[in-house]
Subunit: 257 residues, 2 copies
């Protein structure tokens, strides 16, 4: 499809480390270890400054091709909040929460954001030509499924054909592939947000068991938007965590090759 | 489809907060702020203890219905590592990395893990009946798409019909829905892992532009497994980060309702 080289070959040479910002591993693990899905919240409110800091942390997650095809919808209006609680099947994790946020993927906005990237790179100094080429040639090849998805069968066939003899990127293909692509990027932001809340002394609960059609209607989202999850936040109440963390033996999940 | 009540209605009453473990917000933001996708790594190695701690942190991410349908494949054999670098299109972020990990979603294993959950709950004391009911009645309704997906059209029709008048959980439906479901859960673990590495003074790069078919062959994964992303890790080298972090104005992504 294109002869543009995405990557320079790796040179064989000695590579020295550079100083990176100092971080505190113990403090980080304290956040991860104490993060639990909280099902019942206390009445305490979350300061606006904390909400802002945590949403900012969410938007610092890595995002595929830096295209930032995510959105955070913070529902504060009491009527809309009540409707969102209902769309979350009225579960206590939603009903008792002080804050409710909807994390949304926007596969339909890849092109707009791609244009923004081109513009931003053109305005910067010392941008390597390959970076601009990436957003001018590679991302359209990767993400453009065409009007009504007409490119999809061709993408599928070309990917298969080219991938026979040498490595070829397989995804995303088609409408579902683009949904997966946006969901993944948005889920990374969700994880950042939940850990950030915990770091600030608050708790969260991710909810996928909800009526995404009603949520989209409530937020006035277009058909192509995807609701990755609703996340509730607040202070944990007594009995708000359902028992000890249950995890199967990690030997089932960690494989060494 | 079922008259089982998933959630108890929310009682109107005052709720007091309980003490939660103390965490350090500043230390957490230092991790998030300094995490960047590193494209060229130094030759430094990562201690095994750090790898272990970060993989453990990954497996503490929230996971849909706690079904843990994720896997981390840590590729250490030099031949397999070379093949994985190739499958990542030989990009420097893979080729110069000291460690390479493949994060895999396993929608096909929901039933096995669901049985484990039932067993684990039955062995615990003081488990509310509703928790067991959830894994005996609700999760099969939600995740079982039937042999060759025969349930999918019925699920779709029932969801639409039931969702007309009152909120009804819409996803996951069908093979693609299950893929999305597993990808989302696995992406949460990916974010935990990348932040954990940074907290320990190391860096990462998530790679989606790779040949997932080759990756699956290399790891001997079944057809139904999904490769969420490959993540490389190591110490950042001089010039290993491509410029300042570029993020569009957050006003595009943060919406208040």
């Amino acid at each position: 499809m294109s002869k543009v080289k995405i990557f320079q070959p790796v040179e064989q040479k000695k590579r020295e480390a550079v100083a990176a910002p100092v971080t505190d591993a113990k403090a980080f693990h304290a956040v991860v270890d104490s993060r639990r899905s909280v099902r019942v919240y206390a009445d305490d409110l979350i300061p606006d400054s904390v909400m802002k800091a945590c949403m900012d942390a969410a938007l610092k997650a890595p995002t595929s091709s830096n295209l930032q095809t995510w959105e955070i919808h913070h529902v504060v209006d009491s009527k809309k909040k009540a409707a969102l609680v209902e769309a979350c099947l009225s579960q206590p994790a939603a009903g008792t929460a002080s804050e409710l946020l909807v994390f949304v993927g926007r596969p339909d906005l890849w092109k707009r954001n791609n244009e923004w990237m081109v513009k931003a790179l053109e305005e910067r100094e010392n941008v390597p030509r390959s970076a601009l080429q990436y957003y001018k040639k590679i991302t359209p090849l990767a993400y453009d499924q065409g009007w009504m998805g007409w490119r999809t069968p061709f993408k599928w066939a070309i990917t298969r054909w080219r991938g026979r003899k040498k490595p070829y990127p397989r995804e995303p293909i088609g409408k579902w592939g683009m949904r997966i692509w946006a969901h993944k990027t948005t889920a990374l932001a969700c994880a950042h947000f939940m850990l950030a809340m915990r770091a600030h002394g608050f708790d969260t609960c991710p909810m996928e068991g909800m009526d995404s059609a009603r949520v989209k209607r409530l937020l006035n989202l277009p058909k192509q938007a995807v609701v990755t999850m609703v996340i509730s936040a607040g202070k944990r109440a007594d009995g708000g965590i359902y028992g000890e963390r249950m995890r199967f033996d990690s030997a089932h999940f960690l494989h060494r090759h």
